[in-house]
């Protein structure tokens, strides 16, 4: 399973802070993004960053491993 987390405004639009996605062999971040975007289009209007296992990720072609933690995030507003 892939653990997908949402925070702040994205979590509000998704209506949840965490969902589990079934892992599929060969899955890439882009595939997961597309799947989530299809399920939560309003939330993904504001998604602009992705993190996998606690690290910023820019290459959406990266493969996703089973048991990964993936976070789709909007622009930050801390400080």
């Amino acid at each position: 399973m892939i653990r997908v987390l949402f925070f702040g405004p994205v979590a509000e639009r998704v209506g949840s802070s965490e969902i589990q996605v079934t892992f599929a062999t060969g899955m890439r971040l882009q595939d997961l993004h597309r799947q989530m975007q299809g399920m939560y289009p309003a939330a993904f209007e504001i998604v602009c960053f992705t993190a996998m296992n606690g690290e910023h990720v820019r290459d959406m072609q990266l493969p996703v491993s089973d048991n990964s933690e993936v976070v789709f995030m909007s622009k930050f507003s801390g400080g």
Partner: protein, 146 residues
């Protein structure tokens, strides 16, 4: 034992912080420190033309703390700091209360001031924390970071 507990240099916490305690901890790290620059971010009671009663912060805690630790290490290397501290609150913060504390200590004032400025700018860009303003008219997430 002097009864004091040493707090980590980088922290995310719900409770308020004491700038005096943070500066004392920073100064205790080196007697070579000739300049200390600090920044405190506070919750404003007015934003976008309306009153703000409280600000609620959500964070991807583990990554936010890891990114803040990276920022501290980068600042120390980049500006040749002797030490630096970063504290950010999460949860609900009332108008007028403190949100974030940054301190940079160096042998001289210029790198301390430059590092402090750099740290708050980078924190806003890189650390996964989100703020929601709670107003009498309702709540709204803040998307910009001027």
């Amino acid at each position: 034992m002097n009864g004091r507990t040493t707090k980590a240099e980088v922290r995310i916490q719900q409770e308020d912080f004491s700038q005096d305690e943070e500066i004392s901890a920073l100064r205790a790290s080196s007697k070579r420190m000739g300049g200390i620059a600090t920044f405190i971010g506070c919750a404003r009671d007015f934003s976008e033309g309306r009153s703000v009663a409280k600000i609620s912060f959500d964070a991807y805690g583990s990554m936010a703390e890891a990114e803040m630790k990276k920022l501290r290490a980068e600042a120390i290397a980049r500006f040749t700091l002797l030490d630096a501290r970063i504290v950010h609150r999460v949860g609900v913060v009332g108008a007028g209360e403190q949100i974030v504390f940054i301190a940079a200590g160096a042998e001289h004032r210029a790198p301390a001031l430059q590092a402090c400025h750099w740290l708050i700018d980078e924190l806003k860009l890189r650390v996964p924390i989100w703020k929601k303003e709670i107003t009498p008219e309702g709540e709204s997430w803040v998307t910009s970071h001027p």
